[in-house]
């Protein structure tokens, strides 16, 4: 535990607390149907931004692992992908709840195959396969290299599944076919909380991810196998 780590961790915790206070206490313009659920912008959307950041970190270390073969890079790629999956699942779950009680009111629908939602589920299954793939190898060198190649492939699918394809169809999400883009509909006061929220959740990702990496280091020293 070095001092820089402790400092960043504490800053993240204070930052997130302020963000949550701002998210609930600041007044926002009231819009029909959305009403207070517009505040979910501070929670649901950063989940995906954080997942994207985590996926980039994971792919970066996978590329590093392929280049250098270092165990450290493999550990970081795996743990980053784990936390990315956590945020992806949370993003999906929060989206389901939000849409159910906002746009699907009176329809008894929990899942309507919104294009972006469906693609996000597919995305999570692709990352699920990454963990299954890893667990099917006992031999660390092969496991590391094949998993790294697969992880790079998985990263390439992210922009297609989460941005390009969903925007071609009618969806509840901003920027989709016929919908206004994020820029056109988000009030300035909401940006005041939204951008810090994105940073805060990415910071939270960093805290969770570095904890896992440290645990993997200890496991590696104890058992010569860093897989957590």
């Amino acid at each position: 535990m070095n001092r820089r780590y402790t400092l960043i961790r504490n800053v993240v915790f204070v930052w997130m607390t302020l963000m949550i206070l701002g998210a609930f206490l600041l007044n926002i313009p009231r819009i029909n149907i959305l009403e207070h659920t517009a505040r979910n912008l501070y929670f649901h959307v950063p989940m995906w931004f954080t997942m994207m950041a985590a996926v980039l970190v994971s792919a970066w270390y996978s590329a590093r692992h392929l280049k250098t073969g270092s165990v450290e890079s493999d550990i970081r790629a795996l743990q980053s992908a784990r936390v990315a999956t956590l945020f992806g699942v949370l993003g999906l779950a929060t989206g389901i709840l939000w849409s159910r009680f906002t746009w699907y009111v009176g329809t008894d629908v929990w899942w309507n195959f919104d294009p972006r939602q469906t693609m996000a589920a597919v995305q999570l299954l692709i990352y699920g396969a990454y963990f299954v793939l890893r667990s099917s190898f006992d031999e660390p060198v092969r496991r590391g290299r094949i998993a790294a190649v697969y992880n790079l492939f998985a990263m390439i699918t992210v922009p297609f599944l989460l941005y390009i394809l969903p925007r071609q169809r009618a969806s509840l999400h901003p920027g989709a076919d016929g919908n206004p883009a994020f820029d056109e509909i988000t009030a300035p006061v909401m940006r005041l909380v939204f951008y810090p929220a994105v940073l805060g959740f990415i910071g939270l990702f960093w805290v969770l991810y570095t904890q896992r990496v440290r645990m993997a280091h200890i496991k590696n020293r104890l058992t010569s196998n860093p897989e957590l």
Binding site: A23, F24, I31, N32, L34, E35, H36, T37, R39, N40, F43, H44, M47, T85, L86, V89, L90, L92, A93, T94, L97, W98, F101, T102, W103, Y104, V105, G106, T107, V109, W110, W111, N112, F113, D114, P115, A121, L124, L125, G128, A129, F131, R169, A170, S171, L172, P174, A176, G178, N179, I185, L208, R212, M215, I218, K219, L222, T223, N225, L228
Partner: protein, 111 residues
């Protein structure tokens, strides 16, 4: 030498799969492509901005609770989901650390 401890991992992948399966069974026959013709489903987002009124049934049960106070409870639900997700992650880490502590004890007894 320590005997490798076979650790229990909550099956993330099967849970995701089950989630998707449940979604498919719960979903109505209509898919998103047909939705633009059906008011109140996928058209919901853009019709807000044009101010269209979306006809819905009378809110009952869970909806009546969630829609009260201008839907602030939906935001509470979302925050709770994230909180429980983080708790779950920390619990898993905690169990892992417990295993590492036991392995450390095994190592000590080797000397």
């Amino acid at each position: 030498m320590t005997t490798p401890v076979r650790s229990f991992r909550p099956p993330t992948f099967p849970i995701l799969l089950a989630l998707l399966m449940a979604a498919i069974t719960l979903a109505p026959a209509t898919m998103a492509q047909d939705a633009p013709k059906r008011e109140g489903i996928a058209t919901g987002f853009d019709s807000i901005w044009t101010g269209a009124n979306i006809p819905t049934q009378e809110a009952t049960g869970l909806e009546r609770i969630m829609l009260s106070d201008d839907k602030i409870l939906v935001v509470l639900g979302v925050v709770l989901i994230i909180w429980f997700g983080i708790i779950g992650f920390l619990l898993r880490n905690d169990r892992r650390i417990g295993q590492l502590e036991r392995e450390l004890e095994n190592h000590r007894s080797d000397f």
